[in-house]
């Protein structure tokens, strides 16, 4: 019955080909194809997640080879969580994208390919296979980022491509070192053989360094984040919602997988320096990301820098090697995806409805667009970590883990990060709810002109990208409101989820 596993990857790939073919028959027919493929994908993911969480790990070996020679696909509690997230978010963003666009068939082909890459990355149990999916994800992500009109998104995509390729290449290089040490690529097999080879040997240490730095580039941890803000800000609104919610999240999942399943906690115990460096990277990323976020004027760029800080929190959870912190990292990974994806989509909705794209444009938004402002406010406060939202629970677990392991510096940074997050979101919340709409920005046209002058050197670029004000579909509102509701509701579900995922986390940490 585990034959279902490869379908999780196959369904979006088939959908991607169908979306392209459908374009030959009729243009702009990609959306329905993508919705059907994505809905089937959600079904497959839900069934796999149910089995993994309630019945134990699901394994499948591709092509009838034997482990460790064949490529193994593994769905345990950890991958089931991320798999479900990928499936649900990609379907949700489709509901948003129907009116918001882009509408071409090749876009939806790339979209589904991205979903396939993310799914593969989530369920693979083979290190080289992980590299291949990392590159599929990367390639599809570069293409969807570039799908915006005008040159800005193309430049952002090229920059993303150059840096992202270096990240994936470093991952490949590290994988090579691990392969030379052990002669295997299966993750479970690598864990035992790397331990036999010796965790303190230079070869294994080098492998760890390259693989982790490669993934940190993909996650966009400060100072390796330079591709990320522009890629998020320059891509079309639906795309920034999707990639901010999923691409870095799944890369962070890959990091957890590699550090805990392949190198195992014993490696971190044998090399305290590696563990400390992860902690330092996390702390620096939290502080620097937040400070840079405060300095931004464009809302989407601010949200992008906020992601740099939030991934710092996740890495902090990883570096603590503690069960509580690990659950916290997972919860925050999922929570951040929902909240940040929702925030980007809300920012897109606000921009579509009123033309507001900078922090100053948000003045008095609550009067002009109550639903949008409320959703943004709720998501922003959830991100800051106001109980009972999921943003609070994730941080709480990570901070608790830091206290349990007596890492006081990291504890201070994690608690302080709440204040830093407040620093950049309070600016927006205050402007939206407690200030009057400036007279000039009263009508949407003027605000848009302002935004264009301030935000665009590439003439007519912004104007093309924005649909005329007022074309906000019901689907867009529904997705944004659902994200805000989920961000609050998930907080209550965390305790049950923690119980479900505990066996997986325990086995990871042992």
């Amino acid at each position: 019955m585990s034959d279902l596993v490869p379908f999780a990857v196959a369904v979006p790939i088939v959908g991607s080909v169908l979306a392209l073919l459908a374009g030959l028959v009729r243009s702009k027919s990609g959306w329905p194809v993508a919705v059907v493929a994505s809905a089937v994908h959600v079904g497959v993911a839900a069934e796999l997640a149910r089995r993994a969480l309630f019945e134990g790990t699901v394994r499948y070996v591709v092509g009838g080879f034997e482990v460790p020679y064949g490529i193994e696909l593994v769905v345990d509690g950890l991958s089931a969580t991320v798999l479900g997230l990928v499936a649900v978010v990609s379907l949700g963003v489709l509901a948003y994208a129907r009116v918001a666009g882009p509408r071409s068939n090749p876009f939806y082909a790339a979209y589904l390919l991205l979903v396939a890459g993310l799914t593969g990355l989530t369920i693979t149990g083979d290190l080289f296979n992980m590299y291949v999916f990392l590159e599929i994800t990367g390639l599809a992500a570069y293409v969807v980022v570039a799908s915006g009109d005008g040159g800005r998104s193309a430049v952002a995509a090229l920059r993303y491509l150059l840096i992202g390729t270096v990240g994936a290449s470093l991952f490949l290089l590290g994988l090579g070192y691990a392969y030379i040490a052990t002669g295997t690529l299966n993750m479970g097999d690598l864990a035992t053989l790397l331990a036999e080879y010796g965790h303190t040997t230079t070869l294994v240490q080098t492998a760890f360094a390259f693989v982790v730095v490669g993934l940190l580039i993909k996650i966009a941890v400060f100072p390796l984040h330079t591709w990320q803000p522009e890629a998020y800000a320059a891509s079309p609104d639906s795309v920034s919602g999707l990639i901010s919610a999923l691409v870095s999240t799944v890369s962070a999942y890959a990091l957890i997988r590699v550090v805990y399943t392949v190198f195992t906690p014993e490696f971190l115990a044998a090399n305290p320096l590696a563990r400390d460096l992860l902690g330092v990277a996390a702390a620096v990323s939290i502080v620097a990301g937040s400070v840079l976020a405060v300095a931004q004027t464009e809302v989407k760029r601010m949200l992008a820098y906020s992601s740099v800080a939030q991934y710092g929190l996740v890495i902090a959870g990883v570096s603590l090697v503690n069960e509580t912190a690990m659950i916290g990292a997972l919860v925050h990974l999922v929570g951040h995806a929902i909240m940040k994806g929702g925030l980007f989509l809300t920012a897109g909705l606000v921009a579509t409805a009123t033309g507001a794209r900078t922090v100053d444009d948000y003045e008095g938004l609550a009067e002009r667009l109550p639903a949008g402002a409320t959703a943004f406010g709720v998501l922003a406060l959830a991100m800051v970590g106001i109980p009972p939202a999921v943003g609070f629970v994730g941080k709480w677990y990570i901070a608790l883990g830091a206290v349990e392991t007596e890492s006081w510096v990291l504890t201070a940074v994690i608690v302080g990060s709440t204040l830093l997050t407040l620093a950049y979101f309070a600016r927006l919340v205050e402007r939206m709810f407690f200030r009057e709409t400036p007279v000039a920005a009263g009508d949407a046209e003027a605000a848009r002109d302002d935004a264009d002058v301030g935000a665009d050197v590439t003439a007519a670029d912004g104007g093309d990208r924005l649909p005329a004000p007022g074309t906000v579909s019901l689907g867009m509102y529904a997705v944004v409101v659902a994200a805000a509701a989920l961000a609050v509701a998930l907080g209550a579900a965390v305790f049950e989820y923690a119980a479900l995922v505990e066996p997986t986390v325990t086995s990871l940490l042992s």
Binding site: A146, A154, L158, R159, L161, V166, V457
Partner: protein, 118 residues
């Protein structure tokens, strides 16, 4: 030291290719050359894998030849990685063409500046 360099010159070549590739990516202002830099960087990694599979005096991994054989798996891996590299280059060059159409320049500093002003 000299010994190692004389017998393991392929690792030296890997190191050089990685260095040249990185330098081109960072130091060169032309975005086409940056893409070439990425390719050289990846070639260094390919060489690293292939060199690791090499065994002095071994036969190709074909059943009719006698043992010892060189390891075939890294070759297969690198074949896959080369395909990935080709696709990346294609996407990158496609983007370069679009950027040139839009801005009429291939100079990275100018392009990044346009972006930074926004």
């Amino acid at each position: 030291m000299i010994d190692v360099i004389a017998t393991r010159y392929y690792y030296l070549a890997t190191f050089l290719l990685l260095g040249v590739g990185t330098y081109m990516m960072i130091g060169n202002r032309n975005i086409v050359k940056k893409v070439i830099g990425v390719n050289i960087f990846q070639t260094g990694i390919f060489l690293f894998f292939i060199a690791s599979a090499y065994l002095e005096g071994a036969n190709p991994p074909v059943l009719t030849t006698e043992a010892p054989h060189v390891s075939p798996l890294p070759h297969v891996l690198i074949l896959t990685a080369i395909v990935v590299g080709v696709s990346l280059t294609a996407v990158a060059l496609g983007l370069v063409v679009r950027i040139y159409d839009e801005y009429g320049t291939l100079d990275a500093d100018t392009l990044w500046e346009v972006r930074a002003d926004e």
